[in-house]
């Protein structure tokens, strides 16, 4: 395998993983929008859905413009199909969020079901006195401390995809997922 080819593959996979991660984040956000009956969150899901459409198009164009040999093409067809599935997941998440946007009062049974499901999503604002302020996610060791992992950081109305080097700021909202046990630990850490 030529080095040039490998770089091409790397670029394609990275593009796909962003598509995949965003679609999964959307599911969590969509259920949360229902649970909290939050139009704001539901709105974010809709915006992310448009973003996913763009990511999907970019990903497909990247694959198509990469001029692969026939024997390589089959292996990439698999990835293209995965991309289509990721977009379908994003669409399903948007449909969940639309229930909130249409002003349908979420039926109590929906809230019960989401609360009872194994994983929870939690929103925690980072306050000034938190030890997390000015630390990178790598330094903050949130999963080790709490068992929760940060799905996204909401800062000034925008979503930031967390990377190990991302610095946590005062006022950030950490959107984290995990098992219910960790929720309180995270709250103590972020807003002591």
């Amino acid at each position: 395998m030529h080095r040039e080819n490998r770089k091409k593959f790397e670029e394609i996979v990275e593009s796909f993983v962003e598509l995949k991660d965003t679609s999964e984040l959307m599911i969590d956000l969509a259920y949360s929008s229902l649970l909290l009956d939050s139009k704001e969150l539901a709105d974010d899901v809709e915006k992310l859905e448009e973003h996913v459409d763009q990511l999907h198009t970019d990903f497909e164009l990247l694959v198509l413009s990469s001029k692969f040999k026939p024997e390589e093409a089959k292996g990439l067809l698999g990835l293209i199909r995965l991309g289509v599935a990721a977009e379908k997941i994003a669409d399903a998440a948007a449909e969940i969020a639309e229930v909130v946007l249409r002003g349908v009062e979420p039926h109590p049974v929906l809230k019960l079901a989401i609360e009872e499901a194994e994983e929870t999503v939690t929103y925690t604002r980072v306050t000034e006195n938190s030890p997390l302020v000015n630390k990178t996610l790598r330094e903050a060791r949130i999963p080790e401390e709490t068992g929760m992992w940060v799905l996204a950081i909401r800062r000034a109305g925008k979503y930031i995809r967390p990377k190990p080097g991302t610095k946590i700021e005062n006022g950030d909202v950490l959107i984290a997922s995990g098992y219910a046990e960790g929720e309180e630990d995270l709250k103590k850490l972020a807003s002591p």
């Binding site: 996979v13 998440a93 039926h107 049974v109 929906l110 098992y179």
Partner: protein, 203 residues
């Protein structure tokens, strides 16, 4: 269609229970399906297709419950959201089945692509339990990996069979192949525990 579809008869199950199971299954299926694709595991992919059947049955049952519950226009307005959400989870499970089909239909993913993919994807792992691993001979309940490191074992491969979403009482055995999901740091630790590079389970 390779096998006939079963007739679905009404059973009284609460809407809440049906929804919880549909939500959990659909999310589990996404992780299992991507794992099947990442590790090119045809049998795991087939398990995903089985689960898809189960979600379909649950969706039918849920729709029946909703129909029975709605007596007037007010009820209908209150319940339509439940129906939309259930159909969305059904769609998510369909998407997972599409991912699994890439493996079962032998389209597959380029080996270099899956190698890079495994490197970038830090939330899923597939690992073999070594003889001297601290995980061996412990139940899922005893290990309490969720609270310890934010890791969840979603499937166990043992004696040529997959155990999907193992229960609390399931005991890990040496030689098991485990598929787990969770926080990247937790996943790293979990892998080291399974391969006996790390010998102690910390609290």
């Amino acid at each position: 269609m390779s096998h006939p579809l079963e007739k679905i008869e009404y059973k009284p199950i609460s809407v809440r229970k049906l929804l919880v199971e549909m939500k959990n299954l659909s999310e589990l299926m996404i992780d299992l399906a991507y794992s099947a694709a990442l590790f090119n595991d045809k049998e795991l992919a087939e398990e995903v297709l089985e689960l898809e059947n189960r979600v379909d049955v649950l969706a039918y049952l849920l729709n029946m419950e909703i129909m029975i519950a709605a007596r007037d226009s007010k009820d209908a307005e209150a319940l339509v959201g439940v129906s939309v959400v259930a159909s969305a989870t059904d769609k998510i499970s369909d998407a997972a089945a599409d991912i699994a089909a890439v493996v079962t239909q032998k389209i597959g993913i380029h080996p270099i692509v899956s190698e890079i993919f495994r490197k970038v994807e830090e939330r899923l792992t597939r690992v073999k339990v070594y003889e001297d691993s601290v995980l061996a001979a412990k139940t899922i309940d005893e290990l309490d990996l969720a609270a310890r490191m934010g890791v969840d074992i979603i499937a166990i491969r043992r004696d040529k069979e997959w155990i999907i979403d193992p229960g609390e009482k399931e005991q890990i055995k040496p030689g098991d192949i485990l598929i787990a999901r969770g926080a990247p740091e937790g996943i790293k630790e979990f892998k080291e525990l399974a391969e006996a590079k790390l010998k102690k389970l910390e609290d």
